[in-house]
Assembly symmetry: C3
Homo-oligomer: 395 residues x 3
C-alpha cells in the first residue's frame, strides 16, 4: 500500500552508505600518506593558484590607437634643391593611425611623363634589331611595355623601346647617408585607449597621475619615464638594438608592442601599459628579397594638357603599434575546473599508499588479510562468508 | 607451467575489488548526505552547463570590412570660397576599409611654397638680433628650420627667420561651428563578412532576410532597424552619448563595435551582429595633449617650375570598425574537463558526511566502531581487534 | 602533560585509514570492470592527449606584414588615351601594408571644377520650374547641392541645377572587359614575420631553406611551390574558385589567409605557414547593395587660380592579408587540469560495477550481503556485527 511504499522510499532515500575502513598506525605508511598528500596540496596551492592563476578567466583587449609625429628636417638634393620636410610630407599616410611610415631616404625622379623611351640597358633589354623586341611584352624587371622597336639608348648601346613613365627611375644607388637621417630626433605621441568589454574596464595609456605640463616636455625612457606616451624615434630603434642611421638608409619595420596584460583582481590603477620595441623585418638574412622597406609614390601635376608626375621611391621606417595583452579576473568556473581537477589527484594518494601497504611493509600479509576479504565462487570456500550470510538471514 | 600462469593471470585480471560498506539509516546524516549531493549537482547543472556553457569550446572571429560613405555638404570660407564637398574629398583614406576618417572642420593654408620667412611670434621665436637665432635649429613648436637671421615679422616685432613652407599656418582659432557640421547627415554602409574557420561558419552583416529594396531606404536604429547595415553618422555619435556638432569642431574617434558572439549549437540564423558605438578617445580629461583628432595633409601643385601646396589641417571623426566576438560550440574535451572537474567534488560529499557521522551524531562511538577497525603493530594487539568486535557486540 | 599530547598527535598524524574491500572473482563483473576502465583510459590517452592535445596551452600570433606588387599593363581609353600603368598608379595605398588594393577597372572623369550645372536626369532631379527644386537640398542619389534653379539639361529635358564638381561622372556603364584585366599577371611578394612572445618564438614566411636565387624566380603554387612567398594575383583568385576577369570588372575582396598554427613541442622548423585564399565579399547574393568593390579618388590640379581635378571611380580587388593561428606548447597546468578531470571519471567505474554487482549477477544477494552491512538503530541488530568482528579475529 502507498504508505508502505512511501516509507520504504524515505528509508532508502535517507540511507547513507559509507565504506568500512581500517586504521593502521605505521610510521612508514603514515609518512608516505602525508607526504603524497602534501605534494599534491602544495602543487595546487603553489602552482595552480599562485603561479598559474588557475582561478581566473581571461579576455583579449580591444584597442584604439592614434599617433602624431612632430619634427622638421632639411635635405639638399640635386632633384629638389634645399628642401624642408614637415610631417605632412614625410609621414605616410597622414592620418596617424596605428601604423605610420616615416620617410628617411628617397630617390626622386621629377618630370616623368607618359611616352616611349629606350629601356635601361640590361641583359634582357639590350637588342640589335627590332627582332629582339616584342610589342606588348612587359618584363617584370623592366620599366614598361615594349613597343617592339630597338632604339639607341646611347651612341653605343641599343635597347628595346618601352612605353612608360619616362625618364626612368635610376635606383641603382641609394643616397648614403640617408637624406633625412635627422628623423631620429622626431617624436611621436601615441594615444592608446583599451577596453575589456566583458570586465567593463577602460583605460588609456595617458595615466591619471600624469599632468599636462609633464606631457608637454616628457620623452619616454624605459627606466626614468616609463609612462610618458611621447617617444623619440631614435630611442625606440636603439631600444630594439638597432642603429637608426643604418636602418634609415634602406628602411625597415619597427614594432611598438604595448602590453596591457593585467590582473584585474587588483585595483585598476595597477594596470599600466608596458612598452617594448622590436625590429619586425629581418635585417640581413642570407635569403632575402627586397631587404629593408620602401615603396614608390608620386605627386601628379597637370601643366596645361600634359600630365607629369614626380616619382618618389621612399625608403623609411614603418612603425606598427601592436596592442596586445589579456586581462584576467576571478572566475567561479575556472576555479572549480582547476581545483576540481587537481583535487581528483588526491584520490591517487590512497592508491599509492595501499600499494605500498600490501607490497612493501613487513606485515603485508597481515594487513592485506585485514583489508581484503576474498570471495570464491564455489560453496566450500565461501564457507566463512556463509556464516555471515546466515547472520543476515537470522537478523 | 604456462597453463597455470595463464590461469592465475586470468584470475587476477578478472578479480574485482570493491570496498565494503555499512549502510546507516539516520535521517540527519542522510539529510546532510542528500543535501550536499544536491548542492554540487545543482552547481554543475545550473552554473557550469547552463550559465557558463562549460561544455563548449570557443574560437575568435576572422573578419573583413568595407565601408562606403554617402552625402554632400557645402562650406563657405575665405580660403576656398563656396565649396561643395563630396565623399572623394572628405573621406580619408578613400578606400573605405575598416577605419575611415570623415572631415568635419579644417584650417586651410593655400599657396604655400618652400622659402624663408619670419617665424610666428612666440616667446621662443622672438629675437632682437641674429645672435638670438641659431642656424639649423628646429624648434618642435616652431614651423621650420632657423636660418640664423632675425628679421621683421611686423613693423614692431622681430622673429627668427625659418626655412619652411610659407606662409605659415595659423591654427590659433578653430572655425566654430565646424565647417562641415552637416556631416551628421552623412550615411555609411558597412559591409562585414565574418568566418569561424574551425567551425566552418561564414556570415555577413547583411542578413538573408533583408531584401534589396529595404537596403536602399533603411537607416540603422537600435530598436526599429537593428539589422540595417546603413548608419547615419549623427545617430552613431548620439548613441555613444556625445553631441555631433561639438565633436565635429575638434574631432574625435568613434568605435563601431560589432559583436559576433554566437552560440553555434543553435542554428546559424540566430547568429546576428550586435552594434554598439563608443567614443574611443578621451573627451576632456584633466590631462590631455592634442585633444580631439586632427591631422595635416596637403595637395601639391606645380605651376611651371615652382612647387606650391595647399596645406589642410583637417579635424574630423575617425570611425574604427572593431569586429570582435567568439563563437562557442559543443566540444567533447571541454565537456569532460568541466564535468570531470565538478564531478570530483562529489568525492567531498562522503568526507563531509563521515566527519559529521563520527563527530556530531549521538551514536558517534557506535558508528565509528562499526565503520573503523584499528590495527596495532604487535601480534597481541591484533587479537584485540576481536575484543573491539566484542565490544560492539556488548555495547 | 605535553609529552602525552605530542604522542597522541603523532599517533593520529601517522594513522593511515584505508577502506576494507572484498575481492570478487567473477568473469562477468571483472569483464565489465576492465572494460569500463579501458574505455576511460582509452579516451584519456587517445582523445584528450593525442587528438585534442589537452596537455598544451595556446597563444595567439603577433604578426607584421609587408606586400610589394610588381607588373605593368596598358589601357587605351578616350579619357586618358594610351596609358601605361605601373605599381605607383594602380596600387592604393602605395605603402604595401597588410591590405592593398589593385586597380583593375575605372571610370575617369577629367577636368572637374567646382561650378553649378544641371543634375543628371532622374525621377527625382527632373523639374518643370524652379518650384520643383529646393535650394540647399542634397539628394543622396544626386551629385551635389541644389541651387533651387531649374535649368536645361538638354533641349528637351530640364533638371534641377546643382552646385558640384562638374561635369558629373557617368558611371552608368562599367567598361567590359576590365581595362586592366591583365592585372592577373601581376605578382605580389608577401613578407610576414610572426612572433609568439610568451613562447619566445619568431619566424618569417621566407623559410631558412629558401635561397635568394629561388626567390627571384619562384611563383607560389599549392603543391609544387607551397613555400614561395611570391603570388600571382590570377592564381590566388583561381584558388578561391573565382574567375579573375569577371571579378576585375566590378571588383571584390580577396582574403589571403596565412595560418601559423603550430605545435611548438616539435622543432621550430616544422612550423610553416599554410596559405589559403577566399573571396571575402559576397559575389552575387539576392540581397546586395553596391556589389563588388570600388571607391572614388581624385588627382587635384591647379591651373593658375582654378582648381580642377580628375575623378576616378576605381574598381578593383582588395587583398586582405589575414594572419592567424595559435601556437600550442606543453603546459603543466593544462596537463593537470585535463588529466585530472578525465581521471575523476575513473571513480565512476566502481559505481557502475557495484550497481551491476548487486543488481544483475545471479549471486547478487550473496554479494550485497558481503559488501554491505546494514546498521539499524536498535541494539540487537548491532549484535550481528560481532560475528563479523570475530571472523576477522579468527582469520
Amino acid at each position: 500500500m502507498a504508505a508502505g511504499c512511501w516509507n520504504s522510499f524515505l528509508h532508502s532515500f535517507f540511507d547513507y552508505e559509507t565504506p568500512r575502513t581500517i586504521v593502521i598506525y605505521s610510521k612508514r605508511v603514515g609518512a608516505i600518506f602525508r607526504f603524497t598528500q602534501f605534494l599534491i596540496i602544495a602543487y595546487v596551492i603553489g602552482y595552480v593558484c599562485l603561479w598559474q592563476k588557475g582561478y581566473q578567466e581571461t579576455e583579449a583587449v580591444i584597442s584604439s590607437v592614434t599617433t602624431k609625429v612632430k619634427g622638421y628636417t632639411a635635405s639638399n638634393t640635386s632633384a629638389l634643391g634645399l628642401h624642408v620636410w614637415d610631417v605632412t610630407e614625410y609621414v605616410i599616410p597622414p592620418q596617424g593611425d596605428d601604423s605610420f611610415f616615416v620617410l628617411t631616404n628617397m630617390i626622386t625622379t621629377p618630370g616623368q611623363t607618359q611616352q616611349a623611351c629606350p629601356e635601361v640597358p640590361s641583359p634582357s633589354s639590350r637588342c640589335q634589331s627590332d627582332e629582339d623586341c616584342f610589342e606588348g611584352l612587359s618584363d617584370v624587371r623592366g620599366n614598361g611595355i615594349q613597343t617592339g622597336l630597338c632604339v639607341n639608348y646611347s651612341d653605343t648601346v641599343k635597347t628595346c623601346q618601352v612605353l612608360a613613365w619616362c625618364p626612368h627611375e635610376d635606383d641603382s644607388s641609394v643616397p648614403t647617408p640617408a637624406l633625412l637621417e635627422k628623423a631620429e630626433n622626431f617624436t611621436v605621441l601615441i594615444k592608446n585607449s583599451v577596453r575589456y568589454s566583458r570586465f567593463r574596464f577602460n583605460k588609456r595609456n595617458i595615466l591619471a597621475h600624469i599632468n599636462s605640463s609633464y606631457l608637454k616636455t616628457c620623452i619616454y625612457h624605459r627606466s626614468t619615464d616609463p609612462h610618458c606616451p611621447i617617444f623619440r624615434l631614435g630611442d625606440m630603434v636603439r631600444d630594439a638594438g638597432e642603429d637608426f642611421r643604418t636602418m634609415a638608409e634602406r628602411g625597415g619595420i619597427m614594432g611598438i608592442l604595448i602590453d596591457w596584460s593585467c590582473d584585474l583582481d587588483w585595483p585598476g590603477k595597477y594596470c599600466v601599459p608596458k612598452y617594448t620595441f622590436v625590429r619586425m623585418d629581418n635585417k640581413n638574412p642570407t635569403n632575402n628579397v627586397a631587404p629593408g622597406y620602401n615603396f614608390r609614390y608620386a605627386k601628379y601635376f597637370n601643366n596645361g594638357s600634359k600630365e607629369t608626375r614626380t616619382l618618389i621611391k621612399g625608403y623609411g621606417i614603418r612603425f606598427d603599434v601592436i596592442v596586445f595583452g589579456t586581462a584576467s579576473k576571478f572566475s567561479m568556473l575556472m576555479t572549480v575546473v582547476n581545483f576540481g581537477a587537481a583535487l581528483s589527484f588526491l584520490s591517487l594518494v590512497g592508491a599509492v599508499c595501499d600499494w605500498f601497504l600490501v607490497m612493501c611493509t613487513d606485515k603485508r600479509n597481515y594487513y592485506s588479510q585485514q583489508k581484503t576479504t576474498c570471495l570464491y565462487n564455489n560453496e566450500e570456500t565461501a564457507g566463512e562468508s556463509i556464516s555471515i550470510g546466515k547472520n543476515y538471514g537470522t537478523s
